[in-house]
């Protein structure tokens, strides 16, 4: 056996060790509960759901595909949704972000309405998904979840967990505002940096 081959042979365990070490080290920082949505790049599924406030009013896909928007999945039984709510109010007040609320399998319609009356309603439209019909079609596996949808009704991104300043600045905001720019809609002064 040539010396070169012999060297390669003896170095093999070290190389294997390094490969495994890098792989495991990366694993330390990955979140196994984070799933990429299978629906990214697809249109929002067909739906027909009642309005949260008015049971006799139904909404369907026509409310989507007019402009970039967020679909925020929430419920009163979800503590993280409570934590997130203030930030959603802030998104509406300071940036006029267009959010559709999807109330997901809530305890009751009354509980959900009371929640919005007490905490404020950041949603442009409120959908009431009592049995989780649209949520199942969207692949919702926990609340809160937020979907970014572009002006053509195509899902651009899904964020699982609460929205907050950090997530908005680093993950979701840039995608939303890029879609806003593509749709030719105005971007607030203090968020221009997100699309640069």
């Amino acid at each position: 056996m040539s010396p070169k081959l012999r060297l390669a042979f003896f170095l093999m365990p070290l190389v294997l060790f390094l490969l495994v070490a890098v792989f495991l080290f990366k694993g330390l920082f990955s979140d196994p509960t984070r799933l990429d949505s299978a629906l990214v790049g697809r249109e929002v599924p067909q739906f027909e759901l009642p309005d949260l406030y008015q049971p006799d009013v139904t909404h369907d896909n026509r409310i989507i595909g007019t402009r970039p928007l967020l679909i925020n999945v929430w419920a009163t039984w979800c503590p993280t949704c409570y934590a997130e709510h203030t930030f959603l109010n802030q998104l509406l007040a300071e940036e006029q972000v267009y959010i559709i609320g999807l109330n997901y399998k809530d305890d009751s319609r009354g509980a959900a309405v009371r929640w919005l009356q007490n905490l404020g309603d950041p949603y442009a439209i409120n959908l009431f998904d009592e049995t989780g019909l649209l949520a199942l079609d969207l692949g919702v596996y926990g609340a809160p979840e937020t979907y970014v949808v572009d002006q053509h009704g195509v899902i651009l991104y899904r964020h699982v967990g609460d929205l907050n300043e950090r997530v908005w600045r680093q993950e979701v905001g840039p995608i939303y505002y890029r879609a806003m720019r593509d749709a030719g809609l105005p971007i607030p002064e203090h968020r221009r940096e997100l699309v640069l």
């Binding site: 093999m12 799933l35 949505s37 299978a38 629906l39 049995t131 079609d137 692949g139 596996y141 926990g142």
Partner: protein
């Protein structure tokens, strides 16, 4: 006797636990085949919320919804492939416990084979190295030294023999 009893008890409890369904739902089927397919599918689909459980095992509300949907689709006459595709479109390949072969799952499918091949290569090289060592031919110089050493050994032996005599 005690041993046998103990073994039987252990078996009874472990098997019983393994089969218990997480929830007390009741589904009514028209044929035994539908029930078998329901059990097979719910045992093959993963709960996206509690990631190490099948939807048959999990008590999460999401799993209940998914079981309900599987049940409805079976009763509506959908095939297994259609039901699995339905779930995959919504929750990704992740939802099925039999992952497809693609770039991100290559290591999963072929990792064991790779480890096996590396093992074979190591063994082959190792065996060859030993054989080479065994069959190595000595140079003239080495052979002369060997003879000298052996001759010295012989004379030592004969000296010892003289002493003992």
């Amino acid at each position: 006797m005690m041993r046998l009893l103990f073994l039987l008890l252990t078996l009874t409890f472990t098997l019983g636990l393994g089969q218990s369904m997480a929830s007390a739902e009741f589904y009514e089927f028209e044929t035994a085949e539908q029930e078998r397919r329901f059990n097979q599918l719910t045992g093959e689909l993963r709960c996206p919320k509690c990631q190490n459980q099948t939807i048959a095992d999990s008590d999460a509300p999401l799993s209940q919804d998914m079981r309900q949907r599987v049940y409805e689709m079976i009763m509506a006459g959908n095939t297994n492939a259609e039901i699995i595709d339905f779930m995959k479109v919504r929750y990704g390949d992740f939802v099925h416990y039999r992952p497809p072969v693609n770039r991100s799952t290559l290591i999963l499918w072929f990792g064991p084979l790779l480890a096996f091949l590396i093992g074979i290569i190591v063994i082959v090289i190792n065996v060859r190295m030993r054989r080479n060592d065994a069959e190595a031919e000595l140079t003239a110089e080495e052979e002369a030294r060997l003879r000298a050493v052996m001759a010295a050994g012989d004379s030592n032996e004969s000296k010892k023999e003289e002493h003992t005599n």
